[in-house]
Symmetry: none
DNA sequence: ATCATTTTAGAACCTGGTACTAAAACAGTA
DNA sequence: TACTGTTTTAGTACCAGGTTCTAAAATGAT
């Protein structure tokens, strides 16, 4: 059992990591020329380091970037409002479809679940203008493809008839709560300018 | 030379284009099942339409996203990542268009601004799975139709190599900060189950 | 000299294709 | 009906860039 001079291998591993980080599109064969070892050694090294093959690396990058690109087309109304008592409470339903999930995992992107809650919170406010000022949100468990999110929103406070309203939203899949958020909504009857908020 | 009834082929081409656009990761074999023709026909169709093979498509996507600072010439694509240093920082640009605003006020809906920030925060995390766990967000001023939102995200902490990461996002229109958010992102290398989070 | 580790070699097999040849099925027309 | 042209299907050989497995050789430490 060699005890010293074990560096070459570790050094090569470091070098390998660096090379692949520099150029993730490098093949094993190209690496042999750089590292001066056989292709089998390269492959053993990759195994030990847990580095996937070139094609898998490319696939991961492609999926990653694809997920970014397709991540925005939210519909005008996110979720169907099935019950609405202005300034009091409301319920909306939103089914997670193919468009709303990460392709790899089939788990819903957070901003869709947020969008449902945000839309409902804004819809609840009985004023001409209602914009989200801030929010404090928590995703309690993943939501999967095909699941139906039921968001329930309650107006908690109502600073006069102008100003801010606090709305609490709970989103469920069946019995389970999957999301919870506290929204502060700016409200205004006229088109007067609000110093902040959306 | 058949002159009429030439539709089936063109129809199939349209269908093929749509299928591949919907899911660029589809293999020829999978397409045969959808289109009910032989794999050779699929391949002839791809040839005629100039659609490269799956691996080439993935490679192009991967290369495209790898190309660090891409051309600013904003695509139609909203929330385009123009700079990305994994696990460190990133920048994305999103132009507010008709679809993204309240029709009355021409003010952007909050969840679009949130979506840009959320997507960027998730994109930043260099792991197979990255889901938003919670967020604390603030809309600092309204964003109007036509304005360009530039989101800058920074990874602030990195609980080991599994677990949670904290990402801070600032969104600007010109010099003005319009949004600020603190995201907690769950991260995981494997497909192991995460108890909560999106 | 001996023994464990490390490296190399080689063969079989895999996916998701390309390139090419050729037969069959389908259509329209003379 | 027979001929012609397009379209579809089938099949083979080949490719890159690997994985998986077995096994031999080189290296180094004691």
């Amino acid at each position: 059992m060699p005890l010293i001079e074990r560096l070459p291998k570790k050094q090569r591993h470091q070098h390998l990591l660096k090379l692949i980080e520099e150029n993730p599109f490098v093949t094993d064969r190209e690496l042999t020329r750089e590292l001066k070892v056989s292709i089998q050694t390269i492959r053993l090294d990759r195994m030990e380091l847990g580095i996937p093959e070139l094609r898998e690396r490319m696939k991961q990058m492609a999926e990653h970037s694809y997920d970014q690109v397709r991540s925005l087309p939210l519909d005008e109304v996110v979720g169907e409002v099935v019950d609405l008592q202005l300034d009091k409470s409301g319920i909306s339903i939103f089914e997670i479809r193919e468009d709303h999930v990460f392709s790899r995992t089939h788990i819903a992107r957070g901003h869709y679940v947020f969008a449902q809650a945000n839309s409902l919170a804004v819809a609840l406010i009985n004023d001409e203008i209602a914009l989200t000022a801030s929010a404090d949100i928590r995703f309690l468990r993943q939501v999967h493809l095909g699941e139906k999110c039921i968001a329930k929103a309650y107006v908690r406070s109502m600073n006069g008839h102008k100003g801010k309203a606090k709305v609490e939203v709970f989103t469920y899949v069946g019995e389970e709560m999957v999301f919870q958020g506290n929204f502060v909504i700016y409200r205004s009857t006229a088109e007067d300018i609000i110093e902040g908020g959306m």
